[in-house]
């Protein structure tokens, strides 16, 4: 009888080209996506006089430095990086979804939309949130610039086989509890370094009931638990979502139907969570692990985080005044995210400044067609051009020093949204609730 195997093993094993005695494995990479920040990797390639080995498997997308409001002050340096990507794509013969292209968007939103992310494949990108693509049953992870150069030159990567961890989410969540709340609850449980060295498979009825967009939100933040990658077994939801995508196969290959972990497959670690016990979550501190139910109080113990965030231990997190709201990022800027936010904002006004940035041109157009954009604009919020925007502030969308931002992004690190910026991570519906009340609010009380 065959040894039961995990989803991870079923993807990893066929991609190993060389397994060295010392544990290093040379992996074949099926897809490589580059963005403006990959200029260091191209620089290394040029320095060594090397070419891109497989231009047909390499795709370029502009996202990190794209201005969300082009009418605002121009940034010559950022425009230079966008132009450098354009130049590198042209020189090396790569498909490029440039600013203004209907296929453009954040790598982790537009890539899957184009069918670049497929079950059973390996995908890398010089961005830690590449873990997002694991939602399709791909093995996908972020790499640094030297590794970008290595993949460009060889279409391979040296990796040590990671350990495996399964997180089973049972039960059924409350209607106002989103994928974002589940992953924040998971990270609060594991800690920010709790999954270091592991590939996490998310499984169980609460995960499999999620849309592809929800699964992407979950896998996206795997890296905030320290995981190398997150994965979800592909199923009919996955196949239906991929049908008709530009670069996806026309028919579902038989190989995809055999990817799910076998019964009895062994994981190095297992964790179980009940979705019914998850409340809308919000972070209070400077690490994504600092997540608590919105009904909770700010805990004691991390004086530096409390001082940075301007919070006192023992006070309820709900009611904390916010100065602005950001709805966007590779975590939460897909259509269901914008629909959830619009459901709260419809017929209401935002009482603090808000910025809503769709994850891709396709999401933006559909949101405009559905009337979601009008809901945001009528509420008094800005409706930006697709890109990473205020999640990381590289395009100039910054939170001012000392300002408090309710954000649907993935990191509340010190200085992440700008020097001195105070970030509270939450779901799109919770961010919308904060926009209409000007404070952290339990969306279940508002909806």
């Amino acid at each position: 009888m065959k040894q039961p195997r995990t989803l991870f093993e079923k993807v990893w094993n066929p991609h190993v080209i060389v397994a060295r005695d010392d544990g290093a494995c040379l992996l074949w990479i099926d897809r490589h996506i580059v963005h403006e920040g990959s200029f260091h990797g191209f620089g290394m390639l040029d320095h060594d006089g090397r070419k891109v080995h497989r231009p047909d498997l390499t795709f370029a997308l502009a996202d990190h430095y794209v201005p969300s409001r082009p009418a605002f002050a121009r940034d010559a340096e950022a425009e230079g990086l966008i132009a450098t990507l354009r130049d590198n794509a042209r020189r090396h013969g790569l498909a490029h979804f440039d600013v203004g292209d209907p296929r453009q968007g954040i790598v982790h939103v537009a890539g899957p939309e184009q069918g670049l992310t497929l079950p059973g494949t390996t995908l890398v990108c010089g961005d830690s949130h590449t873990s997002t693509h694991g939602a399709f049953g791909a093995l996908a992870f972020g790499i640094g610039a030297s590794e970008v150069a290595h993949v460009l030159a060889t279409q391979t990567l040296w990796q040590r086989r990671p350990r495996t961890m399964r997180i089973l989410v049972r039960g059924k969540p409350h209607p106002h509890v989103a994928a974002k709340d589940m992953i924040l609850a998971i990270i609060a449980l594991t800690g920010a370094g709790g999954a270091v060295g592991h590939v996490v498979e998310y499984a169980g009825p609460a995960i499999m009931a999620l849309s592809m967009e929800g699964r992407m939100t979950i896998c996206n933040m795997s890296v905030e638990a320290g995981a190398r990658a997150g994965m979800v077994a592909p199923d009919e939801t996955t196949f239906a979502w991929l049908a008709g995508r530009r670069y996806a196969p026309a028919e579902v290959p038989d190989d995809w139907r055999d990817l799910a972990s076998d019964a009895g497959a062994a994981f190095d670690r297992e964790l179980v969570l009940d979705a019914a016990e998850v409340a809308p979550m919000v972070t209070w501190g400077t690490s994504p692990q600092a997540a608590i139910p919105v009904t909770g109080v700010v805990p004691d113990g991390d004086a530096a985080a409390l001082a940075y965030m301007g919070l006192a231990a023992g006070t309820p997190i709900a009611g904390t005044k916010v100065d602005r709201v950001f709805i966007g990022s590779c975590t939460n800027a897909r259509l269901p995210d914008l629909r959830a936010a619009a459901d709260v904002l419809r017929g209401r006004r935002a009482v603090v400044p808000g910025l809503v940035v769709a994850g891709s041109m396709a999401v933006k157009r559909q949101a405009e067609a559905e009337g979601l954009a009008s809901v945001f604009i009528d509420a008094g919020m800005a409706w930006g051009e697709p890109g990473c925007s205020m999640c990381v502030g590289m395009n100039g969308d910054l939170v001012a020093p000392g300002e408090r931002c309710a954000s649907t992004s993935n990191r509340n690190f010190v200085g992440r949204q700008g020097p001195g910026a105070r970030t509270h991570l939450m779901s799109p519906a919770m961010a919308a609730a904060a926009a209409v009340t000007g404070a952290i609010t339990d969306v279940r009380r508002l909806a």
Binding site: L26, H40, G120
Partner: protein
Amino acid sequence: MRPFGVVNGRAAVMAQANVDTDQIIPARFLRKPRGGGYGQFLFADIRAEPGFPLRGGEVVLVGGRNFGCGSSREGAVYALMDAGVRCVIAPSFGDIFAGNAAKNGLLTIAMPVEGFVAGDMTVDLPGQVIRAANVETRFAIDPFRKRCLVEGLDDIGLTLEHTAAIAAHEAAVPGWARPRS
């Protein structure tokens, strides 16, 4: 890559857990060309705080759990290297950070850090030993990573020794795994 043998010099201790790469180098500096020197950006937003442990000239940084978590930015490694740091010792590291470090000749040693204090330290990679005023301890390291660091090996050059195996694998990739034309 600059080979790593034995380094000695001052060590600083920065004990808090989860020091992320956004703190090591804030995002606004990542647009700068590599040639300009990244050392000036190291911990740019927090190094002026009172009691900040790095004063310049440190060769070893002793960190806390999950050091270098977060963003994949290799600029975090450039900033440390350009500021003169050759080795980081911490109980654990962000996976991507540790990979980036190895590719640039920055040694990361994962081990408990109790007992390490600021002051002179010697890190001997070939011998896998750390020596400080009141500590002498051996450390473990991935053998492949050690060889690359000690010999200053070019990773891509090493991979190209496997060109035949790569070509054979490439020819056998199933049709569905290729982008539809």
